[in-house]
């Protein structure tokens, strides 16, 4: 699945990353707690979150996450957009809630990795 596919599936608004729409996404993670996101190293993943502050971008940067989807219509501010551009992280915003957004991507074949323990 590509970032563009995610955008389409979620009817999401593109905020940053027009030029990265064809980038591949292999796994997904949905959480509002950043340490939970940081607990599992995954390759080329997308983060779905209802949290909207600079540390979400920082967390994505540390994890090499390629795309962040803000759920429930949350919109990042200027500083977040600037940092995302600099770190080449695509930003999307969807009106769907976390559960629905995750479900829609799961239905399209995106997975979250192995269960804990």
């Amino acid at each position: 699945m590509t970032i563009g596919d995610i955008k389409e599936t979620l009817g999401a608004k593109l905020i940053v990353g027009e030029e990265w729409m064809s980038r591949e996404v292999h796994t997904a993670c949905g959480s509002d707690m950043m340490s939970d996101v940081l607990a599992f190293m995954k390759d080329q993943s997308v983060l779905l979150t209802g949290l909207c502050n600079l540390q979400v971008i920082r967390t994505a940067e540390m994890m090499d996450i390629v795309c962040i989807v803000f759920v429930r219509g949350k919109m990042p501010d200027g500083a977040m957009i600037e940092m995302a551009k600099q770190k080449e992280i695509a930003l999307l915003s969807t009106g769907h809630r976390m559960f629905s957004a995750c479900g829609m991507l799961y239905e399209k074949g995106l997975r979250g990795g192995a269960p804990y323990r």
Binding site: M34, S35, D36, Q55, T59, M62
Partner: protein, 144 residues
């Protein structure tokens, strides 16, 4: 080979209580390691471990200092603060244990996974702490 000749030391002052800026030092280290051509999975481990430590300094200890020593064999991170200290280190290391207030939890941290994550992503980790004096966390990630 002489040890001191192929070591690079980076030093950061972490401002306290400035949550917005937390992570700048870790971000800087990540970029530097990347530029040095360190393996991406190692860069990521160092970045995550240091980021969790940096966040802890900001939210629990009103800032501190971080020294990163890069050698051909390993990357060492020394995080020092003069915060309140940790009374029971073993308890603090338990997954899910946190004394973070609700306002921090609303910012996405305080799940009590920071110290466990730091341990998970590093090859060696030690926590020394004295109540009322401060905390020093030392972490090492092996390159070879």
């Amino acid at each position: 080979m002489k040890d001191t000749e192929d070591k690079i030391t980076l030093f950061y002052k972490i401002p306290g209580n400035d949550f917005t800026r937390a992570g700048e030092a870790s971000s800087n280290v990540k970029s530097k390691l990347k530029m040095m051509g360190v393996r991406p999975d190692i860069v990521r481990k160092v970045a995550i471990a240091m980021y969790e430590g940096e966040i802890n300094m900001v939210i629990h200890a009103s800032g501190g200092t971080i020294e990163v020593i890069i050698s051909p064999e390993e990357i060492e991170m020394i995080l020092k603060d003069q915060g309140p200290g940790i009374e029971d280190i073993e308890l603090a290391m338990t997954a899910g244990y946190s004394t973070a207030p609700d306002n921090i939890r609303n910012l996405g941290f305080g799940a009590g996974m920071g110290l466990p994550n730091m341990k998970k992503y590093t090859d060696e980790m030690s926590v020394e702490s004295q109540v009322g004096i401060g905390t020093t966390v030392t972490m090492k990630v092996k390159i070879i």
